[in-house]
């Protein structure tokens, strides 16, 4: 069996391409083999990658396509032979054309049009080598990349210039050209060896794999990743240290940045340990791609591990690199130290004042204004959600400090420090723990290392909700809620955050009241009420009002509706994601004014668990029975008691009142089982009512009273859900 090796060598690829491109190319080649060779399981196409090369290796291939036989149709039978049954001229010509000397090879075929002579011709399978040579250039040209460029031929694009193509079928070159590159049997090893041995002639496929291995190149991305992890573990063991937690994405980046990984450990001056550990590890990871280390008790150590791309087995080279790594890190830390200490010289007030000059969004004012809005709206939500006095006053304090660190030098230099810097600076300024913590935690929920982190207490959670509420409602009032895929201001994510937080913390509050409050307090007759300080220089006269004046006042009901339906759409998605059925969700939120996230969730959860309960089933049955009769009279909601004098009517009214009373008095408020039990008592009265009373009588006032009564019952039941939407 034959083997195929393809190596596309290029300028250093971005790590995401290192991670993903090889399998795209591998599966294109696998598809090609499957389609052309009609081979199944025994076919194997392996793909590897490093930053310098994408490699495809395939075994168990045939040398060529299978031979095929085809039938060639000749002239009609009646003119093919003469009287003596010898070939006539048309047949002789046909035989000549097809290189047939023996007339015995001619056969007769019956077609629709009549009988014809024909011959069978053998076609030799094309060699796979040639087929690949035709296929590969087009395949490479059609690849999709995250970002691509051209270097010589505009029709050849790749993430970085292609520098060589090694293509071997067994020991032969698969010959093709692609832009400025001709395929060959040459490969290149590590970049830094290129002066010593610029290129390597690859004699055969096993030689290729050996040569790379000899030079310390680990071709398989996953192997390289685990190799690095092992090296790190060993290095840490030696240094008596523990690796700080890292994201898988970070590990992928490190893996994609080297083909010959070698760990280098270094140290930095103890004096930098006075910097916040978050800042230290940020500088090491983000800027230098180093792994920070901690001791067994979790304290950060003045040490790191970097992964170099050299076989740094030479002591001198190792020391060069170690020294270089340490020096660069020191320079970076000096920078961070400079900004951090400079920030600490200034009071928090100074930064708050500066947030007046940081625009949140055109038409929505500065962060200073945003903070004031969210603080006001948060107090309302906190009251609705029954926060304690203490929590409310802590919230008030924290909310005004949420964004001041955006004006600090540290956040300017290291944007990932937002929230963290705020927490640290507030702590240093003597704020209490709950308040300073809220500054960091108002950016939660966050995904960190695959886990979702939630704010640790009510104050933080309310800060987070209020900030997001302000974002969503502000953009609603600008009529800029996202539609379609794009969501450049992450408004969808903000809304999802509100829902997740509300459910996590079990808050009950009305989205509609929040929207109304927001509008009433910050806008009146199209003018803003919440002014900036008035200290802003002339150039900052972009108004909170500009966008709203035009849109908000006339279209308030429409904007209100779009806010609620935006919230509802996110809520439904989250419920579906949690595994609730479509009809269960619809019965609670469709065709009603969506209002309270947590209560809606509780109802859906109850329905999902009790839908199959006998009592629930029967309630649904009577609900649908009533609904069928009254559907066309939904506007009739009053009834005249004196007209409803039949025993079945009286019985129904009595049991309805009893159920209603029971539910109203019930504690705790979310006893939906109690609700179900109470209203289940209506099942028999409703059924006997329908069996004995004609609702749609000719007597119009009487009919209205009956319908009115029934609609009242529906309205009460609807407080749980719209049973008519439940499907069994």
């Amino acid at each position: 069996m034959s083997e195929f090796l393809l190596e596309i060598g290029s300028g250093e690829l971005p790590y995401k391409e290192v991670r993903e491109l090889h399998s795209k190319i591998g599966s294109a080649i696998l598809d090609f083999f499957k389609l052309n060779l009609r081979m199944g399981g025994e076919l194997s196409v392996e793909s590897y990658s490093t930053l310098r090369r994408i490699v495809i290796f395939s075994k168990n291939l045939p040398l060529k396509y299978p031979d095929r036989e085809i039938e060639v149709i000749g002239p009609p039978l009646k003119i093919a032979y003469d009287h003596s049954s010898a070939p006539a001229v048309p047949l002789i010509q046909f035989m000549k054309k097809n290189n047939i000397s023996d007339a015995k090879r001619i056969k007769i075929v019956k077609l629709e049009k009549g009988a014809y002579v024909a011959c069978v011709k053998k076609i030799k399978g094309k060699s796979i080598n040639m087929a690949l040579a035709e296929f590969l250039p087009g395949m490479i040209k059609q690849l999709q990349f995250k970002k691509s460029m051209f270097w010589t031929s505009p029709d050849v694009r790749y993430p970085r210039p292609i520098l060589w193509i090694l293509a071997l079928f067994d020991n032969n070159v698969v010959k093709f050209s692609l832009g400025d590159i001709r395929s060959g049997n040459i490969s290149y090893l590590l970049r830094n060896c290129s002066f010593r041995s610029p290129s390597v002639k690859i004699k055969n496929i096993p030689y290729y794999f050996n040569k790379l291995k000899e030079n310390g190149i680990i071709l398989n991305n996953d192997d390289r990743k685990s190799f690095i992890k092992n090296m790190l573990a060993k290095t840490c063991g030696k240094a008596n240290a523990v690796l700080m937690e890292y994201d898988d994405e970070f590990m992928d980046e490190i893996t994609g940045m080297s083909e010959c990984p070698y760990p280098v450990t270094g140290n930095f001056d103890h004096k930098f340990l006075s910097l916040p550990p978050e800042l230290l590890s940020l500088v090491m990871r983000k800027h230098q791609r180093f792994f920070p280390l901690k001791d067994k008790h979790g304290g950060i150590l003045p040490a790191f591990v970097g992964i170099s791309n050299t076989a740094a087995d030479d002591k001198n080279i190792y020391n060069n690199i170690k020294q270089g790594y340490s020096r660069v890190l020191t320079a970076r830390l000096n920078d961070a130290d400079f900004f951090y200490k400079d920030d600490l010289k200034k009071p928090v007030k100074y930064f708050i004042e500066k947030t007046k000059n940081i625009l949140f969004y055109e038409g929505l004012g500065s962060y200073y204004e945003k903070v004031n809005r969210l603080s006001t709206v948060g107090m309302l939500i906190g009251e609705l959600a029954s926060f304690s006095e203490k929590e409310l006053s802590e919230f008030k304090k924290a909310s005004l400090l949420l964004k001041f660190d955006l004006a600090s030098q540290i956040v300017h230099e290291f944007p990932e420090m937002q929230g963290i810097a705020g927490r640290i600076y507030a702590e240093k300024a003597g704020e209490d723990k709950t308040v300073s913590k809220a500054i960091e935690e108002h950016y939660f929920p966050l995904s960190r290392a695959g886990k979702k982190i939630m704010p640790s207490n009510n104050v933080s959670a309310l800060c987070s909700i209020s900030d997001r509420i302000d974002t969503v409602i502000s953009f609603t009032l600008l009529n800029k809620l996202p539609d379609g895929e794009s969501d450049p201001f992450a408004i969808r994510r903000a809304m999802i955050g509100i829902i997740e937080l509300t459910m996590d913390k079990k808050y009950i509050f009305s989205l509609n009241s929040v929207f109304d409050f927001y509008f009433k307090n910050f806008f009146k007759k199209g003018e803003k009420i919440l002014q900036g300080s008035g200290l802003l220089p002339k150039v900052f006269d972009y108004g909170f009002e500009k966008g709203f004046k035009k849109i908000a006042v006339e279209n308030l009901p429409a904007l209100h509706a779009s806010f609620i339906s935006f919230a509802k759409a996110r809520f439904k998605n989250i419920m579906l994601g949690m595994g609730y059925k479509y009809d269960e969700i619809a019965s609670v939120v469709d065709d009603i004014l969506f209002d309270d996230i947590y209560t809606s969730f509780l109802k859906i959860d109850f329905i999902s668990r009790y839908k199959m309960h006998e009592k629930m089933y029967e309630l649904t049955f009577i609900y649908k029975r009533i609904n069928n009769i009254t559907a066309n009279y939904s506007d009739i909601n009053a009834f005249d008691l004196s007209k409803l004098a039949l025993p079945e009517e009286k019985r129904l009214i009595r049991s309805f009142e009893a159920a209603k009373n029971k539910v109203q008095k019930a504690t705790p408020p979310f006893d939906y089982v109690g609700f179900m039990e109470a209203y289940h008592k209506l099942v028999s009265p409703v059924n006997s009512f329908f069996d004995n009373v004609l609702v749609l009588t000719e007597d119009i006032p009487l009919r209205s009273s009956r319908i009115g009564l029934l609609n009242n019952i529906l309205a009460e039941l609807k407080k749980l859900c719209d049973f008519s939407k439940l499907s069994y």
Binding site: P14, F150, Q288, S308, D314, N320, F338, E362, P537
Partner: protein, 281 residues
């Protein structure tokens, strides 16, 4: 290796390679890319190989000479190679060897870095080059300049001279760099840093800067109307410089900032289009 010798070595290397060595462009620019030697010349799409030192301004980075790594004014060594040369990374590594950095004895990395200049309407893909973890060079394959697709493309190599010198001289502060064995970088430039920062952050006049921007923009536009592309481009550079001063002074809101960027970009684009029409044909 002294600072000035580092420059000599690089100049010699690229001169030997076949580049013409130009002297610095004589106006305030943020980077070597802004000099017409790069911005306009690459639009011609001819055989263009050039190297030059470009004194560059980054007003917001000034720190009164107090921070050992931050400067309001610094030096770039800019190389432009057009059209594309397949061996360009190897040639670059050889240039490092010429300044006593042996790529075989260090961890040299080409780290993904996609370059884009919103004010120039230019972008390209390439790398930051790391020498044992320190970024010493920007390496870019320009795809577009002034909104115009380049064909052939140009390769830009920008060396950070101070960084490389600090590495070679093992200095922790840029001001301690030896310029020629007698004087230091600090002797020559430390006071510039202090005064520049004072001016950039505290004393520049917003009113004057805002009106200068308007005046320069007006002049650029009228020169464009007369089809005088190089003078027009020079006024576009003046606008860009004033914009940087305004930014350093913190005098623009985010939206205004965007607006000024768009105004500079629109001038730059007009210059590029006009240059392509006139100089190239």
């Amino acid at each position: 290796m002294d600072f000035q010798h580092l420059i000599f070595k690089l100049q010699n290397f690229w001169s030997d390679f076949g580049c013409i060595i130009l002297q610095p462009f004589d106006m305030e620019v943020g980077a070597g890319t802004f000099a017409p030697y790069t911005f306009l010349k690459c639009l011609e799409g001819k055989n263009w190989k050039v190297a030059y030192v470009q004194p560059s301004r980054r007003s917001t980075d000034g720190r009164y000479g107090e921070n050992p790594n931050r400067l309001a004014r610094y030096y770039q060594f800019q190389v432009i190679i057009q059209p594309y040369i397949k061996e360009i990374q190897e040639i670059y590594l050889k240039s490092l060897k010429s300044v006593n950095i042996d790529p075989c004895r260090h961890d040299i990395r080409f780290v993904e870095d996609d370059w884009e200049s919103p004010t120039l309407g230019a972008w390209g893909l390439g790398w930051e080059v790391w020498l044992d973890g320190m970024e010493i060079t920007q390496f870019t394959f320009f795809q577009q300049i002034g909104g115009i697709e380049l064909n052939p493309i140009a390769t830009e190599i920008t060396y950070g001279l101070e960084r490389i010198a600090m590495y070679l001289q093992e200095k922790e502060s840029v001001f301690d760099l030896s310029w020629n064995g007698r004087l230091t970088y600090g002797d020559i430039h430390k006071n510039d840093e202090f005064e520049s920062s004072k001016y950039n952050f505290e004393y520049s006049s917003g009113d004057i800067l805002f009106s200068l921007f308007d005046l320069f923009e007006k002049e650029a536009k009228s020169l464009l109307a007369c089809k005088l592309v190089k003078p027009a481009y020079e006024y576009c550079l003046k606008c860009s410089h004033v914009f940087n001063q305004l930014e350093a002074r913190g005098l623009m809101s985010v939206s205004e900032r965007m607006n000024y960027i768009l105004r500079v970009r629109s001038l730059a684009k007009s210059c590029a289009v006009l240059y392509k029409e006139t100089a190239v044909s």
